[in-house]
């Protein structure tokens, strides 16, 4: 899922500036699951804004990243001065595109693609590199979970299974090694992995995907 974190109230108020009639729009997908931008959080933010003197209302759509879910919002958006989207950056952009005469402010910082690893704890698992190779690494993504995106083994600072860069994180290479060891596949790690083709990633420029069979 896409994980995000609500911006501090102070920042949201600063963004809103003189705009006093506000619609807070939550999203029912990823950010609902990670408890940062769903119906509950939209209701919460709207009531905080009201306490701060704004005239704020809230609404939540199933998925802000698909325009068909946004169409019904037209009437509610019409009268307000500004919109705060609690969706990920995709939702904010979809809203901005759909209601281009309105200012749409991001109420959330979109942080990463990841999953909940414990109650109340989310971790990044994928950077969308465009050419998945996790099968070579025991199902642990070195691009994302190793702070230096190393493909050929741990750096010199991995200690006690923790990453030298952020010692409260697992060293991805310890996880990779342990997983392959448990599968009796450690010798596969001896293979020198050639440089990755980053042209499929964001490095290749803005990405687009088309499916001939689905095009109208």
């Amino acid at each position: 899922m896409i994980v995000g974190e609500r911006k501090p109230i102070r920042e949201i108020l600063e963004l809103l500036g003189d705009n006093t009639t506000v619609l807070v729009v939550g999203c029912g997908s990823c950010v609902t699951v990670c408890l940062s931008g769903g119906e509950r959080e939209a209701r919460e933010l709207a009531s905080i804004l009201r306490i701060r003197g704004q005239s704020a209302r809230e609404v939540t759509v199933e998925r802000q990243c698909e325009k068909e879910f946004l169409l019904p919002l037209e009437k509610e958006i019409e009268p307000v001065q500004a919109v705060v989207s609690l969706a990920c950056g995709i939702g904010v952009q979809a809203m901005s595109e759909m209601f281009s005469s309105h200012r749409v402010f991001p109420g959330l910082n979109t942080t990463f693609m990841g999953m909940p690893v414990e109650q109340g704890l989310w971790e990044e698992y994928c950077s969308g590199c465009g050419e998945c190779v996790v099968h070579k690494y025991g199902g642990v993504c070195p691009v994302t979970r190793c702070a230096k995106s190393l493909f050929n083994g741990p750096c010199g600072g991995s200690q006690a299974g923790l990453c030298e860069v952020k010692p409260d994180r697992d060293c991805a290479w310890q996880l990779i090694y342990d997983r392959l060891k448990s599968q009796n596949r450690v010798e596969e790690l001896l293979q020198v992995q050639p440089p990755k083709d980053w042209s499929f990633s964001r490095s290749g420029g803005h990405r687009k995907m088309s499916r001939e069979d689905m095009l109208l």
Binding site: K148, N152, E164, Q174, K181
Partner: protein, 314 residues
């Protein structure tokens, strides 16, 4: 031609030192440090923005050292440059006669003085070794295109015998050798027993016959400095008894040098260790004493073809 390579191939126990370039364009500290160490080491490493702190570029330091008559080792990390820049800088180094290159992944920028920067890590250190090896041996860039004149480079890598997963460390060295490493400079050794254990595994894989291994040492000035390294520097193992020795010593600095010299004496006895790499960070002036007391002076004499001394600069 790399003098370091000649020394290692001659079978002599090699000595290399390290110079951290200054945080300014001032060449004086570089020349001073090079002059302090150059008669006592066979080659001098120039770090590449070590610990992610901006400093004069390694290549500039290498050129200054070369003009002063030393054989420089250019360190290159993968943090700040992509494969385009790394290959370009190898060509540049080669053009300027800098022929020893040490390929490293690099410290993460969050540890340095520009933690807001974006990192690169387009390739890792092992991929970099392979790219450079192919530039030399196949006259080919990473994309396969031909390089029209020969690339000369003596390729090195770092290795950290103490980092985890420990069972993978010797294997990782094997990968570095397969990728092109001709010499290795290790992380600083304080726990000599664990280093011996690692060397035992290295010999088990026959790697000591394929690559020159230089054991890293750091002379420390105080118990506090050693404690700091124990707690803060990733990839180091520092036995308590060494810290106690420094605490008890009347002259901790002298005791730090004693420990360093003892470590080198032990390294000289280990089968497969081809030399020592002395990382006297901000204490380069101590290198001559260490080398002399470890019985490693005088160094092998350079032939005329290795003498690049430029009287204007020295």
């Amino acid at each position: 031609m790399s003098w370091l390579k000649d020394v290692l191939e001659s079978g002599a126990f090699a000595v290399t030192g390290e110079v951290g370039p200054p945080k300014s364009p001032n060449i004086q500290p570089v020349l001073k440090k090079v002059n302090q160490v150059c008669r006592h080491v066979d080659a001098v490493n120039f770090t590449d923005n070590q610990t992610a702190i901006v400093r004069m570029s390694s290549l500039a330091g290498c050129l200054l050292a070369k003009e002063a008559g030393a054989d420089p080792v250019m360190q290159m990390v993968c943090r700040d440059r992509n494969r385009i820049a790394l290959q370009s800088d190898l060509l540049g180094a080669c053009a300027l006669g800098v022929e020893n290159v040490l390929c490293l992944s690099g410290d993460h920028q969050s540890m340095g003085n520009h933690p807001q920067s974006k990192n690169v890590f387009d390739v890792d250190s092992i991929q970099l070794l392979e790219i450079f090896k192919n530039m030399r041996d196949r006259s080919a860039f990473q994309n396969g295109e031909e390089i029209k004149s020969p690339v000369k480079v003596f390729l090195g890598a770092g290795e950290s015998p103490y980092a985890d997963p420990v069972a993978f460390r010797a294997m990782r060295l094997a990968k570095k050798v397969a990728a092109g490493a001709q010499f290795i400079q290790t992380q600083a050794i304080f726990d000599i027993e664990r280093f011996e254990q690692w060397m035992f595994e290295v010999r088990g894989l026959g790697l000591h016959k394929k690559v020159f291994i230089l054991g890293g040492v750091i002379p420390v000035k105080s118990a506090r400095a050693l404690r700091y390294m124990q707690e803060e520097v990733p990839g180091l193992v520092i036995p308590e008894n060494l810290i106690h020795r420094l605490e008890k010593a009347d002259d901790a600095k002298a005791e730090g040098v004693n420990i360093c010299v003892e470590t080198i004496e032990r390294l000289k006895e280990i089968e497969g260790v081809a030399g020592v790499h002395i990382m006297a960070i901000a204490w380069e002036s101590i290198i001559p004493e260490i080398v002399e007391r470890a019985g490693l002076f005088p160094r092998p004499a350079k032939g005329a073809e290795h003498n690049h001394e430029d009287p204007k600069r020295t």
